[in-house]
Symmetry: C2
Subunit: 251 residues, 2 copies
């Protein structure tokens, strides 16, 4: 089976992530959502609120992936420069999107009116479409293969939700997990051998320490459920043959 693999990149934009102030939650959320769309998250960059850094990341990532998602920097304040930076990367001017203005006007009708600062959230690179935002006023932006989303995770979630099923993708990656109370170094050779014996399957080994004990989860990934299942069965059998108790669905 030689299916086309669709890839996406994510640019997380924001000084607050690089300063350690804010724990990013968008990488995992976008990754999990993409996977369901049959698109692989191939790479992520976290960049500061600086035009040159955003432009560089946007231009590299959009060129070598089917899709580029960005999170952060689309609010109304002076540190929100994502729209201007993406317009600069694309070489197009920034304009007010008429429907975004209408959406914001309606949203702020009962919230003090549409001020100049709030009108900033209707600015888009020329030629852009909007991504619906059911959570707050400011919409996301789609231009070419770039999807510009909010930084606040629950708003991003709503934007992803409104994009669900609209992007062309391939087969989603399926996975199953098993766990063992074993140091992964005890079974490293076994894992490698099982992976080599099952074409099209990748096995990830994720060790942990919990309650004072060493364990590991083994994640088997493939685009074909039968492949995943037969690899899990083989891996389980070989682990049990060496005397390790296997915990279905991981520990």
């Amino acid at each position: 089976m030689n299916e086309r693999i669709w890839t996406a990149a994510l640019a997380v934009i924001g000084d607050e992530i690089l300063s350690g102030r804010t724990q990013d939650k968008n990488i995992a959320q976008v990754a999990a959502w993409l996977n369901v769309q049959g698109i692989r998250l191939a790479e992520v960059r976290v960049v500061p609120d600086r035009t040159d850094a955003i432009v560089e990341a946007v231009n590299v990532l959009r060129a070598r992936n089917d899709y580029l998602f960005t999170t952060g920097g689309i609010g109304p304040t002076h540190d929100d420069i994502t729209v201007d930076a993406i317009a600069a990367a694309l070489g197009v001017p920034v304009v007010h999107h008429p429907r975004a203005l209408a959406v914001l006007e309606h949203y702020y009708e009962t919230r003090g009116g549409l001020t100049e600062a709030r009108m900033r959230m209707a600015r888009v690179p020329e030629g852009a479409d909007l991504i619906e935002n059911r959570m707050s006023g400011a919409p996301g932006i789609r231009i070419g293969n770039i999807f510009v989303m909010a930084g606040v995770p629950h708003i991003t979630a709503g934007m992803l939700d409104s994009l669900t099923g609209t992007l062309e993708g391939g087969l989603p990656v399926l996975s199953r997990t098993i766990g063992c109370w074993v140091a992964e170094s005890e079974v490293a050779d076994l894992l490698g051998a099982v992976e080599r014996a099952h074409d099209g399957v990748a096995i990830g080994s994720y060790p942990f320490f919990r309650d004072g004990r060493t364990g590991a989860n083994f994640v088997v990934r493939a685009t074909d459920q039968a492949l995943v299942d037969s690899c899990i069965a083989d891996l389980t059998a070989r682990l049990e043959a060496e005397g390790w108790a296997v915990v279905a669905d991981g520990i």
Copy 2:
């Protein structure tokens, strides 16, 4: 004041982050630690367990930053390829580090002995030094300006701890936060004006929704405590003058 700014990059290596399976915790942890060392985290890349992707990231990031940190991919299993990829990036062979072998031999003496798989964790790019790991057997690796650390966050924490105070840095970035129950769009102009009025200060605005209400925290950052304090005082006064109650230390 024109102090030299020291920068670091972080390469997070691992399919488990890109698949959404694992929520990264190392970005925030490394960022916060670096800041105390007087080093700014300038950029982060998350790359898959693939040699070409790691080599590209390592070579770009080490060249344009004072330091490069990596997390992930230094365990004993087949998907742990960080050491080989970094050696490839540097054009040096991989060798067994004698002290790492001794450390592992001692660690596994009472844990089943030093198998071939476990000996993998003593492999380093030629010319590397070790970073102490008090949590488990496998040490981290330092070569040139590259610091190779574990993926498991509490092991990474131990490695950072053993590096504390050993890296040359500049002035740490200091910050103070205040919060308001206000939509950030209400005070966007005010924030921009305050930032412009205080040279050397950056103000970040971080909106949130909590208990059904809209609020925002404002983070003032500078390398000089007096600058931070006078900016916070000015910002607080201007917010209160517009009728907003200010919560010290943020909401």
